[in-house]
């Protein structure tokens, strides 16, 4: 187990900037999530740390030691992949044994380790099977076991849940969290799914164009997004962004613009904080209903607010239909303010 650090890392593939002067410090035992849109080079950061790709510039440390020149097999990290990457020509036993054999373990000691790991992950009955005979969930359990079996200094996980169907995803997600709580191995986890990130992380770094848009605990990321990019990326459904000039004076007062020019401010309102009321309600924004999405206990509603599409919540959608007029109300404390030009958060 060890702390992990990226110090002023730069990496580009042709025109794609993967990292531009990127610095990250991950504490020993921390579950750290790299969150970013697909194709932004998150996986490449893991490859850099694993030593598969060289960085153009900068230093990487594992347990305080500069590993930039250390070959992959000596970096003592383990990886879990979206594609599982189990060795198709080996059975489950040999897949689990592979990292141990490479470290010179064999015979009875090896067998004991493999069987213990298979036991904790519920793979005992599958040891003689080939990967192609396993289900997706079983394959990812084997991959987890293979990564865990030699107690690496750090775990690198590259979208390990993305190939699984919804039910299995939750099951394996719990498994990953349990493994982390049991062993407290420093984990670097890459995903584009903010819900996964929120559920697993001690801290999340939101990546955009090779640099960090914000790095914070999940709750802080949700409560105080640093800019409109993070605001839209974290939380489902994404936050509504509206020009502040849309607000009539009473609502403007409620939003506490505090003397700022409304034209220079973007309002952020989470759909959860925007309540759709009946047309008659006073002191609220008037919008036209476009769609209704029942969500069980309540209904999401997409509406047109003076030309901007917004999403709001309604405790009971039964009496609204597309085309109806509704009024959207929000609590003063739930408003996020952003600079309209830069997108940066404005503090109140």
């Amino acid at each position: 187990m060890a702390a992990v650090a990226f110090e002023r890392i730069a990496k580009r593939f042709g025109p794609t900037v993967v990292a531009d002067d990127l610095t990250l410090r991950i504490a020993d035992g921390e579950f750290f999530v790299l969150l970013g849109p697909s194709g932004c080079g998150k996986s490449t950061l893991l490859h850099l740390l694993a030593g598969i790709e060289p960085a153009d510039r900068g230093v990487m440390r594992i347990g305080g030691v500069d590993v930039s020149a250390v070959p992959p097999q000596q970096r003592d990290v383990a990886m879990v992949f979206q594609s599982y990457a189990l060795y198709p020509h080996l059975d489950v036993f040999e897949n689990l044994a592979f990292p141990l054999r490479n470290r010179g373990l064999s015979g009875r000691a090896l067998r004991a380790e493999v069987e213990r790991m298979a036991g904790t992950l519920g793979l005992g009955a599958l040891l003689a099977k080939r990967p192609r005979d396993l289900s997706g969930g079983q394959r990812q359990r084997v991959a987890l076991g293979r990564a865990l079996i030699r107690r690496p200094a750090a775990f690198l996980m590259d979208e390990p849940l993305s190939n699984l169907d919804a039910a299995l995803r939750l099951e394996i997600r719990e498994e990953i969290k349990r493994v982390h709580q049991t062993h407290r191995i420093t984990t670097l986890y890459v995903t584009h799914d903010q819900e996964e990130a929120m559920a697993l992380a001690d801290r999340i770094a939101v990546l955009r164009g090779g640099s960090i848009a914000q790095c914070d605990a999940p709750e802080a990321l949700y409560a105080r997004p640093a800019d409109t990019f993070v605001a839209r990326f974290v939380g489902t459904p994404p936050m509504n962004l509206l020009p502040a000039a849309l607000l009539a004076p009473p609502e403007a007062a409620a939003a506490r613009l505090q003397g700022r020019d409304p034209a220079s401010v973007t309002l952020g309102l989470r759909p959860q904080d925007l309540e759709a009321r009946d047309a008659g309600a006073a002191g609220a924004l008037e919008a036209r209903v476009l769609l209704l999405e029942p969500a069980g206990g309540f209904t999401w509603l997409v509406a047109d607010l003076a030309g901007t599409r917004v999403k709001a919540r309604r405790a009971d959608g039964a009496r609204l239909a597309p085309g109806d007029t509704t009024r959207l109300a929000f609590a003063a404390g739930s408003v996020h303010l952003f600079d309209a030009a830069s997108g940066r958060r404005l503090e109140r």
Partner: protein
């Protein structure tokens, strides 16, 4: 129904077209000497093995077969060893100039042997490798190498990158990952490539003719071509020798048929 009939007729015609010369060869090899140069009868009146006996008794044919086998096996092994390493590097290690290298490999594989036969003759002489099995094997390996590199690069490309990365992270050195993970997964490719190279070496005539001068290194195709005497062409013996020389290839193809088919279509569909 009509369509199926059409398919069968087409297949039958194709088989007849490619098998007819071989069938003719087999017929000729078992015909008595007297019937060899007359056309009826098409089928031999009696089946005789005298030509086969003559081939092995009258010529050093067993020695030629051994030469052919040694040269083809060594050249194939060499081409596979170098070709799989180069193919692996080109497919998985992203060396600079990868596309240019692959293009050069293709261009090289198009080079006609005639273009290089005289320089190679001089080179082999200078290196003391003329009329040796080693010389012939080296030349064959060289000629087969572009094909081997190209094919193996394609096969390794169809092995997912993640498997290579997993092997490295799980504690393998570069060559360890190659030997323990990449190579076992490329066995169909190795088989297909090896078979193609072996057949090329087994059948090769031009280099074998120019670079050898005695039975020390002569191979089967050249040996057969030298059967004819001053006054007569021993058709029966030539046919018998050809049948014997073809048999190992047919056997190899039959044994590895499945693997080769798998190999040649690997990577065509994402699995």
């Amino acid at each position: 129904m009509i369509r199926r009939l059409g398919t069968w007729l087409g297949l039958a015609a194709a088989c007849a077209w490619s098998l007819a010369p071989f069938a003719w060869q087999v017929l000729t090899s078992v015909k008595p000497q007297a019937e060899l140069e007359s056309l009826p009868p098409l089928l031999p009146s009696t089946i005789t093995l005298v030509h086969y006996e003559a081939v092995f008794a009258g010529h050093p044919f067993a020695h030629l077969l051994l030469n052919s086998f040694a040269v083809a096996a060594c050249a194939t092994a060499l081409a596979l060893a170098l070709g799989s390493l180069a193919g692996f590097a080109l497919a998985k290690l992203r060396p600079p100039g990868r596309a240019a290298t692959l293009a050069a490999v293709v261009v090289l594989s198009m080079l006609p042997p005639v273009a290089t036969v005289s320089p190679l003759f001089l080179l082999a002489g200078a290196a003391g490798l003329r009329d040796t099995l080693t010389g012939l094997a080296l030349v064959y390996a060289g000629f087969a190498l572009p094909l081997a590199v190209w094919l193996m690069a394609q096969f390794f490309r169809s092995v997912p990158d993640d498997l290579y990365i997993a092997a490295r992270v799980d504690g393998c050195s570069l060559l360890g990952a190659f030997g323990k993970v990449m190579l076992p997964l490329a066995v169909p490719g190795l088989t297909a490539t090896g078979l193609l190279v072996f057949v090329f070496c087994w059948n090769e005539f031009l280099f074998a003719l120019t670079l050898t001068s005695s039975t020390a290194a002569r191979t089967v195709p050249v040996g057969i071509a030298l059967f004819p005497g001053i006054h007569e062409v021993p058709w029966g013996e030539i046919a018998a020798a050809s049948v014997v020389a073809t048999a190992p290839l047919v056997l190899l193809a039959a044994v590895f048929q499945r693997r080769v088919l798998d190999g040649l279509t690997a990577g065509a569909v994402k699995g």
